[in-house]
Symmetry: C2
Subunit: 322 residues, 2 copies
Amino acid sequence: MSENGFSKEVALGIDVGGTNTKFGLVTPTGEILVKGWMRTDQYPVVEDFVDALHAKIQPVISPFLNGKTLRGIGVGAPNANYYKGTIEDAANLAWRGTIPFAGMITEKFGVPAKITNDANAAALGEMMYGAARGMKDFIMITLGTGVGGGIVSGGNLIYGHDGFAGELGHTIVKPAGRKHWNTGSEGSLEAYASATGIAITAKKMRAEFPESVLNEYPEEEINAKTVHECALRGDATAIEVFRYTGQRLGEALANFVMFSSPEAILLFGGVIQAGDFLLKPTRLHMERNLFPHFRGKVKLIFSELSEADAAILGASALVWEK
Amino acid sequence: MSENGFSKEVALGIDVGGTNTKFGLVTPTGEILVKGWMRTDQYPVVEDFVDALHAKIQPVISPFLNGKTLRGIGVGAPNANYYKGTIEDAANLAWRGTIPFAGMITEKFGVPAKITNDANAAALGEMMYGAARGMKDFIMITLGTGVGGGIVSGGNLIYGHDGFAGELGHTIVKPAGRKHWNTGSEGSLEAYASATGIAITAKKMRAEFPESVLNEYPEEEINAKTVHECALRGDATAIEVFRYTGQRLGEALANFVMFSSPEAILLFGGVIQAGDFLLKPTRLHMERNLFPHFRGKVKLIFSELSEADAAILGASALVWEK
């Protein structure tokens, strides 16, 4: 891999989301030469989607491939299995069953393709181009509609026996706690620390505190963003929503630290817009629950990559992975 | 490494415990050619201990070294740091501060020495000679006076940034739960699932149930072993002690599975003598708290190595580790 910006090799990064699919042509140093997007949800048949994706991408990237080699394609997607190259029963995608997605992309584009889940891709992106540069042991937590995890140990992503390691959003942080709307499990981290979970907490708390300005919003507008607005206005209930969320998140992070002893935990995703309202209680409760040996040693930091580019960079990083 | 029993190379495995230190000369195939032990707790100065250990081991092993090469020494010890070769503030040892133990052993014996914590050594031993043969992803849980963890991912032990990964006994399984007698943390796995924790649970429960045969024992005889005896006699309270312990352990194991997606979890140590009284509720509560994808897929098994030999075999396995 060349260290300058004039590498002869480039990678295509594709981020498959439930609504949109984003892509970009990326150099080994993380420069996005060109990018684009298309709808995902208009293709109920995956073969049609792959055809349309190829038709969309080819003319966009070909002017930039002059004199360069497309070394490979990296794909980030929900419920992706790195080992098998498949997407398996992703709740947010229309395609049911086990989709041999990497193989389909390889065949269509004529270059090797690899696939991993969104959080693992984000971790790779941070390691190559973001806040985790130079780190060999860290944990990536994505806080969005759901909560995802990507674990890097000794410089490598942990995939586990079946490729599904790092399902950190589904770890139980409060036994017999809040029931998850999809999985049915009780007390998982995702039930509290996702944007969805924060909205649930906010709706409960505003009902308890009639004086909260959260009550000025209609039910459907209560989300992590409006709670943040209320917190900025000094609303004690909104601030308490993030404090409670941070407590649950911090307790979970403490357990993750004692598992893999990372140098840092990186937080990523829409929820981190809440800033210190979330970060301070998270750090407090993480430290409080750590085995004394680990206290004060683990960095808790926000991602450095812009959310718009992180998914593409992360997916493209799969191509350069050893 | 030779696959037959006539290898020219052997390893010395040393298990340093709070009371006794055990050692054995081990072939690459896991045959213990000779073994021995000495007291640990009679040496308040670590230099004296290393001198005495050398004086004790040399005459025992030298008849077995005829025509063989001592390839190296592997040491299992509490609070051992694999990266630095140190033992750091081990609560059960007399030696305070950071002890450069591997270096002292290397110097004294004249061969390379490596050190790791007890649970990691046990995991290596199981992978080379026990129930985890052929596995690349598994988690070892040692259930003794304390609770330890050893995590193998992709065929390698996870050491983490500072060498202290796998402190699974200190993960929090019940937020704001039982206070740990040493660390002060609240609700850690060790506070419930260690032999010490089981004795605490039993003392609480027998006070609640005067009809329990547990009440026939004096306070100081309430331990995992006597609770097991009472369970075998059909005592409902004793059975409930293990059910409750299994619930907490199962909840913790579910989180470990979602972290590293192992093929199996191996349980090891004195506490597993309780057999199905512990294993059945553990499995039930592990399955119940798993993300659906993992249910029914992860083996939960007992160690295959005899407890007397496992520590020596595990420590010696460090020598053959790549």
